[in-house]
């Protein structure tokens, strides 16, 4: 098919229209509107960088960025530890390997909204009862403080997504040649040495993928945040995605919310691109 072929363009028209109308045009318009006083219908005035100056002085927004960054960091580390850990367990020759894969992956298929509601019950009622039963203070009052809200979202996310990351690591672990491991065994390498010198380097590409996926997922989380804590108490556990939604659709401050959305885009892109760049570099060096 050449550029002049009619078929080429006919085959592409639906997706060009789709991506254009749904993503590209709103993205460009959004960027322009973020410099105005746009209210969702019309814009009367060009404000320059006013929206951007204001949002960097808004405590709530800066707090949500800090909260999200903190969350992303913890979630990425824990998700990869759990994901790789679970993968190492289920790729052993266990009787329950298949059953365990099914179980670990299951939460992934259910939406974050529904899972967040289930965990609200676990954190409030079940934890409360465990606290009363055992007398351990730490189980009481979950989700009522910023700290327990933070760890609540972390636990929920790990439980939901570790199975997904596990699947990625499994794909790479199963590609490691068995005779390589056998040869190392015969040479007298112990379990830890085999992991460090064979498994770990061969699984390195899976790190690139998993880190990229977990990082971008953690930054964009919304459903879990909404259903588990709804940003509370006092908006202290509100993440950036929720900040933007609320500024736009609760406060009706469209142009200002869009400026936040542009900053959000910049953060997500910079993080994702740097990360891919460094991981590629490291893989080559290895």
């Amino acid at each position: 098919m050449s550029n002049k072929s009619l078929a080429f363009w006919l085959f592409l028209t639906p997706v060009i229209l789709g991506l254009g109308v749904v993503v590209v045009i709103p993205f460009i318009y959004g960027f322009i509107y973020s410099f105005t006083d746009w209210n969702g219908i019309t814009a009367t005035e060009f404000l320059g960088f006013e929206n951007y100056i204001n949002l960097f002085q808004e405590k709530e927004f800066m707090n949500s960025i800090w909260f999200t960054t903190k969350f992303a960091f913890v979630a990425v580390v824990l998700l990869n530890v759990f994901g790789l850990g679970l993968a190492l367990i289920v790729t052993r020759n266990l009787k329950s390997s298949n059953l365990l894969r099914t179980v670990f992956f299951m939460p992934n298929l259910i939406g974050g909204l529904i899972l967040g509601f289930i965990w609200q019950f676990i954190f409030i009622s079940v934890f409360g009862d465990i606290g009363d039963l055992t007398g351990i203070e730490g189980f009481n009052g979950w989700l009522s403080t910023a700290d327990t809200g933070f760890w609540g979202i972390v636990i929920l996310t790990c439980w939901q997504m570790a199975g997904y990351i596990m699947i990625i690591y499994i794909a790479y672990l199963e590609n490691i040649p068995k005779d390589l491991i056998e040869a190392a065994k015969i040479d007298g390498a112990n379990g830890f040495q085999r992991f460090k010198n064979i498994t770990f380097p061969l699984v390195a590409p899976a790190f690139t993928i998993s880190m990229f996926l977990t990082l971008s997922m953690s930054f964009k989380i919304y459903d879990q945040n909404l259903s588990l804590t709804n940003g509370g108490p006092a908006n202290q556990t509100q993440m950036v995605a929720m900040e933007i939604v609320n500024t736009a659709f609760s406060d009706n401050d469209m142009a200002y919310a869009q400026a936040k959305a542009v900053i959000f885009f910049l953060i997500v892109s910079v993080v994702a691109l740097t990360q891919v760049y460094y991981n590629k570099k490291r893989e080559v060096e290895m």
């Binding site: 550029n3 997706v15 749904v22 993503v23 045009i25 365990l100 509601f117």
Partner: protein, 274 residues
């Protein structure tokens, strides 16, 4: 001696796995068990089994969720969106892979780069634009899913095209087939494995999506997650009903997972690793 050691090792790993497995399904277990309790029973304790297993909660939740209606809405929107994504993305992936020009390469790059844009960065102008065009309805939503879903799908189809030999194209054209016939009768059937992957990934995403439908649909044609949100708001602190509703909402997913488990795990793995 060494063999024995290894066996013991394997058993302890199996035990560790099973303990983690139990921990993993504990939230579901607690949800289901407590959904069978009365309000008073939940108040006395959530850790034990119900004093008396009651089913009224499920009936009430089923009616309040208008479950059949939300199930129908979710099914309709998911099926149509995924069908459209598969049809148009496969065509685009084919066209872009068979044209090696600079323009084609640039377009492919744009489609892939668009994956970087988070939903929240375009959501506000998108809703405003579709609002002005009077398209904030199920039809508009399906079109939006095409726009958001086509990037990854085109990427996967484009990758899979390397396995489809070009000589087949030429033979079919010589035999007088049009491009359209050639694609649908010869190329598309060969792309079936990747179509399954694309289908599974998009079903999981669209079936569970909450934010976009919440901005586009009214309560009368709500999907399951959207209806669940309204339902849950109505029954805060009435855990017996809320948990029954959550259990009902999960059932279709569990049934689907039960039947297509292998394909789902394989599809998700392929989608992520590429």
């Amino acid at each position: 001696m060494k063999k024995n050691n290894e066996k013991r090792n394997l058993i302890s790993i199996e035990v560790l796995g099973l303990v983690l497995g139990l921990l993993w399904i504990a939230p579901f277990y607690l949800m289901i068990v407590n959904a069978f309790k009365t309000k008073r029973d939940i108040f006395t304790g959530v850790l034990g089994l119900p004093e008396e297993w009651i089913t009224e909660n499920f009936i009430e939740a089923f009616i309040d969720l208008e479950f059949l209606k939300s199930l129908f809405n979710s099914t309709l929107i998911t099926t149509l969106s995924v069908a459209i994504i598969i049809i148009f993305s496969s065509m685009a992936g084919y066209a872009l892979a068979r044209n090696k020009s600079k323009l084609s390469g640039t377009m492919f790059f744009i489609f892939v780069a668009a994956m970087l844009i988070p939903f929240q960065s375009v959501m506000i102008p998108l809703v405003a634009l579709f609002g002005q065009a009077d398209m904030l309805n199920a039809g508009g939503l399906i079109f939006m899913y095409l726009g958001f879903g086509c990037s990854l799908s085109i990427f996967l189809y484009h990758g899979a095209m390397t396995g489809v030999s070009k000589s087949m194209d030429e033979a079919a054209i010589i035999d007088g087939a049009s491009r359209f016939q050639l694609f649908w009768f010869i190329v598309f059937p060969l792309l079936k494995p990747i179509s399954v992957t694309v289908g599974i990934l998009n079903v999981i995403w669209i079936w569970n999506d909450y934010l976009l439908p919440s901005l586009v649909l009214s309560e009368s044609n709500a999907t399951i997650p959207l209806k669940m949100f309204f339902f849950f708001g109505q029954y805060t602190k009435q855990w017996h009903l809320a948990l029954a509703g959550l259990t009902i909402a999960i059932i279709p997913v569990i049934i689907g997972y039960f039947f297509a488990q292998k394909q789902i795990i394989a599809g998700v793995s392929e989608g992520a690793v590429k």
